[in-house]
Symmetry: C2
Subunit: 338 residues, 2 copies
């Protein structure tokens, strides 16, 4: 059984969407046990509403909530009865193997480090983001955890990302790129120049060199590593440009009876194609380098992303990805060998 702790109180549509997503996962992942954290009466009544009486679901009372506007570290320290803190302690105590939440990114990141804890040798666990590409999906590390990164952190992101894509997404020999402003050797800022030789020296990953931001969405790499400031800008450009272009195209389609007829003829295929680019199908952003898997789901989830995140967490646990990441970290990094 893969035991997964779920914060039911995070996100815009909590707890309804979260509980719904959890219930929907039960038929898809047969060997999971879900622990739902939230106000017990509310969660229990929602389970009834969704006709769920499975013995693979257990509700654990957590009457308090950490809101988006609270200072993350303070909230994690003080709100002992919140769904995030209680669920994370449950994972830390070995009663579950993964944690999923659509709540505050800051609180999830802080709690992941303060409660669940970092793996030995991982000073800075990165936030992953799964970016849909023309060919599949690319894991962007770090998408927002550690700004002003050091070269050794980026090397670890590459190693951890490689394990993740191999074990959880099923990519054989994942191609790893370092985000850069050009393909030429001499390009890059100081961080890139310092990181490049360290990554080149790594023999246990398939490092393919510089990756320009424009190539990411075409799927040239399976993992791209960068400082969190850069990664966050990349992720938000991806979201922003996609959203803006689609809103423009939608307004064209709705602009006259003629275009509406045209829209009718292309709608089906267009939807299928654009679905590929919906990050939600990939089930949330993992934080890697912690002692257990922590997954952050979009705050606006309608529940489907929770379902996918549970599948993803289940695969992660089955593959012992934490163990494999820990093992990869124990191999000496080049600068330690010097």
């Amino acid at each position: 059984m893969q035991r997964i702790a779920i914060d039911c109180m995070g996100g815009d549509n909590a707890p309804e969407a979260i509980v719904k997503g959890a219930v929907q996962s039960l038929d898809l992942t047969k060997d999971t046990k879900l622990f739902l954290f939230g106000p017990v009466e509310k969660i229990t009544s929602l389970l009834k509403e969704y006709n769920c009486s499975s013995d693979r679901v257990e509700v654990i009372d957590a009457p308090d909530v950490i809101s988006l506007h609270e200072a993350p570290v303070m909230a994690i320290r003080r709100k002992k009865d919140s769904s995030i803190v209680k669920a994370m302690h449950f994972v830390k105590d070995g009663q579950a193997d993964a944690f999923i939440s659509a709540g505050s990114s800051g609180a999830i990141l802080a709690g992941g480090q303060l409660i669940i804890g970092r793996l030995p040798l991982v000073p800075r666990p990165p936030f992953g983001a799964l970016i849909p590409t023309k060919k599949g999906v690319c894991l962007l590390l770090d998408s927002g955890a550690n700004v002003d990164a050091k070269p050794e952190w980026l090397v670890q992101y590459a190693e951890m990302g490689s394990v993740y894509m191999k074990e959880v997404v099923g990519v054989k020999n994942p191609k790893i790129g370092l985000v850069n402003v050009g393909a030429e050797e001499e390009k890059g800022n100081q961080l890139v120049k310092d990181t490049m030789p360290l990554l080149k020296a790594k023999t246990d990953i398939n490092f393919t060199g510089s990756c320009e931001a424009r190539d990411i969405s075409f799927g040239t790499c399976d993992v791209v590593v960068c400082d969190a400031f850069v990664g966050n800008c990349i992720l938000k450009m991806y979201e922003g440009v996609g959203k803006m272009l689609l809103s423009e195209i939608t307004s064209v389609l709705k602009s006259s009876p003629v275009t509406m007829l045209g829209a009718l003829l292309i709608k089906g295929k267009l939807k299928t194609t654009l679905k590929k680019f919906d990050a939600k199908q990939y089930g949330g952003a993992p934080i890697l380098g912690l002692k257990s898997l922590v997954v952050k789901v979009h705050g606006n989830t309608d529940g489907r992303e929770i379902t996918h995140a549970i599948q993803q967490a289940s695969d992660f646990i089955k593959a012992d990805a934490v163990g494999k990441i820990a093992a990869a970290m124990e191999q000496k990094t080049p600068e330690q060998e010097v």
Copy 2:
């Protein structure tokens, strides 16, 4: 007369597209004088081919070419007879007021600094990029010139960008944003944290605070400033995601007789809408902070962007934007006042 020096030998479609673009500009900008740099016989025969006998066009012989693959500084120093070097010296000597090229960005940037020269008080001229947005256009500074930027450089970018948008694009009281990973005060890397108070202290620009990358394409700011590494990633994500999504949509439209019929019905309006997002209509990327305007046009231009760049340069010269930028730079920056 606005006198503009044009490198006819840069870009994938040179010299044909460049000469064509120059000729096409003559009817649109009535008070320009164009100096075309390249092998004189070739350029003259192209002018004949395009039926141009205007006395507002003069060809100046430059038999050599700087290719994309040459080390920029070395090429600028050694290739005295290249179209870039000869045209830039022409500008430096006061015989023209602006320089336009679709050639190597590196060579244009190096030549701009080494030949045309920086304005006093501007240590690092940034590369601008005009990003089309839902509302119009946003000037991104720095899109690729100076990585590992210092806070004072970003403050200068903000000032220069404000002048550019006001004088050349015609935006009243341009809104200036600092690219950041969140709206909250405590967010950001060290550069952003150090730059924020300097920008806030500036009373001569309309600084609006942090701007997240996802908001850029919606047009929340008229100018966004950031380090060149971040700016280059933003620009390339914009280009990459746009290109990828449009190629996916095109393949949907072409996928069956039914969708092709649908495409026929929406094509006209879709084209009009998407044209808004074609950066080429804005006429290239200016380098600001030099003693004369230098504009880099996309290497793959078919000539239309050259036409627009000439119009843009003409407006820039008429507005005395260089003089206004120089004046803005002479106002003490906050840290100098301390």
